[in-house]
């Protein structure tokens, strides 16, 4: 457990630096301004990972703990909420997404040969599979949101 925590801390230092640097180059946020926010995000992620590790029941994925914890600490009225929101606003969402997809690309490379073997029919169907889910959800959401008068 301790070894894991140590390893996670080192990994988070690396990925947090990537995020902060990308945030600087791409979105003009000075690293010093973004540091409190990224520390909050790292802290929440660490706690989520630790809870997942510590609880014997593994049916709930660690990202669920992380998402819910981050959600709870920023509900209006929770002590320190405004400060946390203000700090984390400085960390651009797209600056987090870029390193994720850079790592993902390198990891995906291994599947490329399998991908190349798939054939044109799979590729066409695959695009409709993704489109179907995405558009289907958006259309249902649109209908309900309009009925409710939210949009």
């Amino acid at each position: 457990m301790l070894k894991n925590i140590q390893e996670w801390i080192l990994l988070f230092i690396i990925v947090a630096s990537l995020v902060v640097l990308g945030n600087w180059v791409g979105y003009d946020v000075m690293p010093l301004d973004a540091i409190p926010g990224i520390l909050v995000l790292v802290g929440v992620s660490m706690i989520g990972l630790i809870i997942h590790k510590a609880i014997p029941y593994k049916g709930i994925p660690s990202i669920a703990y992380i998402g819910i914890l981050a959600f709870i600490i920023t509900i209006p009225g929770v002590p320190g909420q405004e400060q946390i929101v203000e700090w984390t606003t400085k960390v651009n969402l797209l600056a987090i997404a870029t390193p994720i997809l850079a790592y993902a690309g390198i990891s995906i490379g291994r599947s490329w040969t399998d991908f190349a073997k798939l054939g044109w029919r799979t590729i066409i169907i695959g695009m409709f599979v993704l489109l179907g889910t995405y558009l289907g959800s958006a259309i249902i959401a649109e209908i309900i949101l309009r009925i409710q008068g939210i949009i």
Binding site: A16, L18, V19, F71, I106, I144
Partner: protein, 292 residues
């Protein structure tokens, strides 16, 4: 996943490559390409995934880095989930108000069956199409099909093909079409925000990015809806597949293949699928016992 994390920080080669990708892609920045009525948004993360794939084929990285990168995706993804969370908290009143839409849009994943299954059958695929189109084909669905039919069955081959397709092409494809659809169709960005919870972290990030970039003044609410939808899908996705998605795919497949094979082959296929439905029922019983 976390167990394998030991020693990954030492892979300086991997981290330096990613650092270089991040700096270069963020420096290039966002570009907008008008296409007809809509806009295709090219974002740094899109270049990042393409450069990442390309670099795998250079001597700069080896299989080892590629393996290590998988865990790093997961670690970085936790930061994105935390970011989703902190943007959702302040939007709690809006989330409650939009609750019905958030819950019901989960059923939109069935759109895949209605749209893609007829196309698959039309293109001449047989039982593979059931595996391919019953869902978006991520890890839980892979597990479900393996459990019911086995990975070497036609259904198993189908879901595996879709898994590979989604892994390699999913984030690129959704990253390209999400901004385009949001600008070209009359649907509201909030609706697309709710649709980004497709059941894969990197695909969610890729489809959310263009929405945030195209509608900056709605960014907070868009991110909150997206985060809530992602969380919901990770909880309900598998069960929606088990109880609605897969049975519906089976039914629709039977109807479509009957129409297609008006000759002798028809009965054979129908018999086949009946057999499969039988075994499925047995499996289902077994599973419900386990759950109890």
């Amino acid at each position: 996943m976390e167990g394998k994390a030991l020693g990954l920080w030492k892979d300086w080669r991997l981290h330096l490559v990613v650092l270089a990708i991040v700096l270069v892609t963020e420096f290039i920045g966002q570009h907008r390409i008008p296409v007809g009525v809509g806009i295709i948004l090219l974002l740094p993360m899109l270049y990042a995934v393409i450069i990442g794939i390309a670099i795998y084929f250079t001597p700069i990285v080896t299989k080892k880095q590629s393996h290590n990168a998988e865990t790093l995706v997961y670690i970085t993804l936790t930061l994105l989930i935390a970011k989703f969370g902190v943007q959702a908290g302040p939007a709690l009143p809006q989330l409650i108000e939009a609750g019905p839409a958030l819950l019901l849009q989960e059923l939109g994943n069935l759109g895949t069956i209605l749209l893609a299954l007829p196309i698959a059958v039309f293109l001449g695929l047989k039982r593979e199409s059931v595996g391919m189109t019953h869902s978006i084909g991520r890890e839980p669905n892979l597990a479900l099909i393996t459990d019911k039919f086995g990975l070497s069955s036609p259904e198993g081959r189908g879901v595996m093909a879709m898994y590979i397709f989604g892994t390699v092409f999913g984030s690129i494809f959704l990253g390209l079409i999400s901004g385009f659809l949001a600008t070209a169709t009359p649907l509201h960005p909030y609706s697309f925000a709710m649709a980004t919870g497709v059941g894969s972290g990197s695909m969610a990030a890729a489809s959310l990015g263009p929405l945030v970039a195209a509608f900056p003044d709605m960014a907070d609410t868009i991110t909150a809806f997206s985060g809530a939808s992602n969380l919901l899908t990770s909880v309900t996705g598998l069960y929606a597949s088990i109880f609605i998605g897969l049975p519906l795919t089976e039914k629709l497949y039977k109807v479509l293949s009957k129409r297609r094979n008006k000759n002798g082959t028809e009965t054979e296929i129908v018999n086949n699928s009946q057999n499969i439905t039988e075994t499925e029922k047995q499996n289902e019983d077994r599973k419900s016992k386990v759950v109890k």
